[in-house]
């Protein structure tokens, strides 16, 4: 099981029956593949769809039916389409139970940076700023460190922010971290690791929960 798969499987366990969820592009999208049986989740795509199904099989993709990553998708029974201003009214109005996004950096205040690196070309924030400002619960799903081994969980973000004090939880292949007003609380660590090892790979100070558990990922 890869680290990314471990992250996706763990977050999938957080979904409750009847949840409405927006999954960011990349790693978060993988979560849709690991939803526990008996749990009905409706996925939103911010370009104007609720009830997004998986990629179409075979050749007959429909150019009028894409997700926010501009990839062809399918319709689930009970899906609906709406305009962009409606889609973001839904997001901004606090109707999404959860938004799962990738990140470049997160910090002790729950600040998130995931849209631009100064000096490199600015692609744009798309819907990320709206999602983190509007969803009831914002979960960051990302690999714990950069390819160069640098921590992505910092005392203070150094990149331009996507949102200020918006992150509720951070899930990496190493651990689950809950963001609180007191700071980052380590609540789960991957099997075979302990809190000290996670802290060693993390710039931000981690408060170890008195109820620290082993991170269980779904088997399926």
């Amino acid at each position: 099981m890869t680290g990314k798969e471990r992250i996706a499987r763990r977050i999938a366990r957080e979904f409750k029956d009847g949840f409405y969820v927006n999954l960011g592009i990349g790693l978060p999208t993988m979560i849709a593949g690991y939803i526990p049986e008996g749990i009905d989740v409706m996925f939103q795509s911010e370009n104007g769809m609720l009830g997004v199904g998986g990629p179409p099989t075979g050749v007959q993709t429909d150019p009028d039916l894409i997700n926010a990553g501009k990839q062809p998708v399918t319709e689930l029974p009970g899906c609906s389409f709406f305009a962009s201003e409606e889609s973001f009214a839904m997001i901004r109005g606090g109707h999404m139970d959860m938004s799962v996004l990738g990140a470049m950096q997160v910090d002790e205040h729950g600040n998130l940076a995931n849209w631009t690196i100064p000096g490199k070309m600015v692609k744009g924030m798309g819907g990320a700023m709206d999602l983190v400002a509007g969803a009831r619960r914002v979960i960051v799903a990302m690999e714990h460190q950069t390819k160069d081994g640098a921590s992505r969980i910092l005392k203070e973000c150094t990149l331009p922010l996507t949102g200020q004090s918006v992150v509720h939880d951070i899930v990496t292949e190493l651990c689950w971290i809950h963001v609180t007003p007191a700071g980052l609380v380590l609540t789960e660590v991957a099997e075979g690791l302990d809190a000290a090892e996670v802290q060693a790979r993390t710039e931000a100070r981690l408060i170890v929960s008195p109820e620290l558990r082993v991170m269980t990922v779904s088997a399926a």
Binding site: G24, I25, G26, S45, E46, N47, G48, M49, T61, D62, P63, D64, L65, I66, N67, A68, G69, K70, Q71, P72, E75, F81, F82, A83, S84, E85, S87, F88, A89, I91, R92, N111, M121, V122, K123, G124, M125, G126, G127, A128, M129, D130, A133, G134, P160, L161, T162, G163, Q164, S165
Partner: protein, 239 residues
């Protein structure tokens, strides 16, 4: 009442250089392909465009960019266009990036007679720089202004000669809001039907918002992710 024009060229014949133009679509989905092609044929310049994206190299608004028609652009994501990158870095195009939901709401406000409104989005980020913020209840919000254009070019699925429009699946996106927010709204459709054929409960854009309507000559409708994979552009990215 008959708003039908016979061609995209006729529809855009009086759009002048320097105009502010909204263009519907999300990525390459639901974009006014035929109107863009007609605009490119006119070769007007100095346009101020408002659109969520900027097409890709070789299609959609990318063609307008390649023709040197765009002076400034307001959008939320432009990651699929290398020519844009070059122009912005050279200072030849003024690019303003704003959150997608704020963009959509600013356009709606422009059509709804609401000059400004508060949102939580972007607080504490570059988006809020220079903007008024205000505490309302227990949260702080950013004041955002309406967007309005001289012209809106939009794409619907079916329409009638009164300008009533319906959209298909995710090709709806920014089109209905933009239809309301311009002095002149031009809609291209895949099929023209008789008034009364569209169920009045299903009409998304009532004809009051549409000044001209035309049937697009052809629709290519590439899927952006596949268009890019096919090697015509190379950058990847988010919405």
């Amino acid at each position: 009442m008959n708003k039908v024009v016979s061609s995209a060229d006729e529809a855009v014949a009086d759009i002048s250089s320097g105009s502010t133009v909204m263009l519907g679509g999300f990525g390459l989905c639901g974009i006014p392909e035929n109107l863009i092609a007609a605009l490119v044929r006119r070769r007007i310049t100095g346009l101020h465009t408002i659109s969520n994206n900027m097409g890709v190299d070789g299609f959609g608004m990318g063609l307008m960019l390649e023709a040197g028609m765009i002076a400034s652009h307001v959008g939320s994501y432009v990651g699929e266009n290398r020519r844009l990158e070059t122009l912005v870095l050279k200072g030849e195009l003024d690019l303003t990036l704003i959150p997608q939901g704020t963009l959509a709401e600013r356009i709606r406000a422009g059509g709804a007679g609401i000059p400004a409104f508060y949102v939580p989005t972007g607080l504490g980020t570059v988006v809020a720089e220079g903007k008024e913020t205000r505490k309302i209840g227990d949260r702080t919000y950013v004041l955002e202004q309406a967007l309005h254009a001289d012209v809106a070019l939009i794409k619907a699925w079916k329409g009638d000669r009164l300008g009533n429009l319906v959209y298909r699946k995710t090709a709806r996106n920014f089109n209905p809001a933009m239809a309301t927010a311009a002095d002149l709204t031009i809609a291209e459709v895949e099929e023209l039907v008789e008034p009364g054929e569209l169920d009045p409960d299903h009409i998304i854009t009532p004809g009051i918002y549409v000044n001209r309507i035309l049937v697009g000559a052809t629709y290519r409708k590439p899927i952006e992710s596949e268009f890019i994979k096919a090697g015509l552009t190379q950058s990847g990215g988010a919405a």
